[in-house]
């Protein structure tokens, strides 16, 4: 029975099926909102589903310069690590597998999808992918620093007895007792920093230096086609959900209502709002950054925001 329940968790909720559907929906909402902001009609909200299923139906070409095994395994690796993350991130009071992972694990798991893109791109043997990889790497280094500081800040704030905690359960318990993190003024800079980290972690528009389709032919994805490309697009969508859910868990958590369905709906609402704020808005109003400008942006402005929160929290605010 326990095994069946675990299988249900892994494959349906909150695992694979749930985050795939929600992620694709969020991606659709993002596209629609951006289009509306640009005074366009925009595609239907279910457009990412069409894209995904179409890609499943296309031929998958594996170029002979590519190393076959890694080329096929890389997108799957990214997908698996994303689904695993979905199982660890709590939906208010509910976690599928609590006591298995913590903030640091999440931090490392978050690098795996990016590493999967890089490894897959490298395995394709294309020089465009090489350029994309170099940009992706610099992007990772750029956004990881503020992300690390934000997570450590939360880890300090959520501890009750002056210690530290990396556990999601305790973070949720703290928020249930003292109100969500966002209601503490010292955490607001960290929340803003996190909002700024999300688009580059997802690879959303102003920070999609690695997949710049107009300059370097989609970078690491240049040789991918058919279902493998579909999995990458799915990864991108799931990443949107994971990161917005992570934001919700870190900054807008709490006890929830106690009824799972209501909690999930509330989470979806938060995810949508965060998507619009952190991804659609910069996408619609900003052009793509150059990679060294992006690095500078993250290591100065965003890091300073995160550090302000860290210092405030350490001073006891």
């Amino acid at each position: 029975m326990q095994i069946l329940l675990d299988l249900f968790y892994v494959l349906i909720f909150p695992g694979f099926l749930f985050c795939a559907v929600v992620g694709l929906l969020l991606a659709g909402i993002d596209r629609k909102i951006v289009a509306r902001m640009q005074k366009r009609m925009g595609p239907p909200i279910v457009q990412p589903f069409y894209d995904f299923f179409k890609l499943l139906g296309k031929e998958t070409i594996i170029p002979h310069a590519a190393s076959r095994g890694v080329f096929i395994a890389a997108p799957l690796l990214g997908l698996v690590s994303l689904v695993v993350m979905a199982l660890f991130i709590p939906v208010f009071g509910f976690t599928a597998f609590s006591g298995v992972a913590d903030l640091i694990v999440i931090l490392y798991l978050l690098t795996i999808p990016a590493a999967a893109i890089i490894v897959g791109g490298a395995a394709s043997g294309s020089p465009y992918a090489g350029v994309g990889i170099s940009r992706e790497m610099v992007a990772i280094v750029a956004y990881e620093l503020p992300l690390i500081i934000v997570l450590l800040t939360v880890g300090k704030k959520a501890a009750l007895d002056g210690g530290i905690t990396f556990s999601f359960t305790e973070i949720q318990a703290y928020q249930a007792e003292f109100g969500s993190m966002l209601s503490h003024w010292s955490m607001i800079p960290a929340a803003v920093a996190m909002l700024l980290v999300i688009p580059s972690e997802v690879g959303s528009h102003p920070f999609d230096v690695a997949e710049a389709e107009t300059e370097i032919c989609e970078g690491p994805l240049v040789e991918y086609s058919g279902s493998l490309l579909g999995i990458y697009k799915l990864n991108h969508a799931i990443k949107m959900f994971i990161l917005t859910a992570l934001f919700a868990a870190l900054f807008l958590g709490g006890a929830g209502s106690g009824i799972l369905i209501v909690d999930v709906l509330l989470l979806l609402l938060i995810c949508t709002v965060v998507t619009i704020l952190s991804m659609s808005l910069p996408h619609a109003i900003s052009a793509r950054l150059k990679v060294e400008k992006m690095f500078k942006f993250y290591w100065t402005l965003v890091t300073v925001l995160a550090v302000i929160s860290l210092v405030l929290v350490w001073m006891g605010f």
Partner: protein, 146 residues
Amino acid sequence: MFKKIIDNSMAKSPWIYHINTGSCNGCDIELVSVITPRYDAERMGFKLTGTPRHADIVVVSGPVTSQSKERLVRTLAQVPEPRVIVSLGSCPRPCNVFKGSYSVEGPLDKFCEVDVSVAGCTPKPEAIIDGLALAAQILKEKRRQK
């Protein structure tokens, strides 16, 4: 059912790869105007991609010059099946005013099978959208027949 979903999705998410084989840039500008807010082809799922590997519809503009012939053939080969080839403007097929030039290798039909031809010098954006919508339907048909 799974097959049917995929078939239907084919027509609803056609991604375009654009090859310029020596065009005067007129058609290219008109193709870009198709994705502007005024015409907004994205509402039908159209999207410009950066690589032929992601493409469903290949839009070819301009007469096929001897310089671009080899590149055109290689790039077309790299597009995964099912694919649809659209000739944009009067140049690719009848060669327009460039017909008979020493550097023009002749109509596009010599190198590949053209599914949709949008005529005009340059074609209006409405005509291009019309042609692309037709191409999307053909794409679905091709997928269904396979």
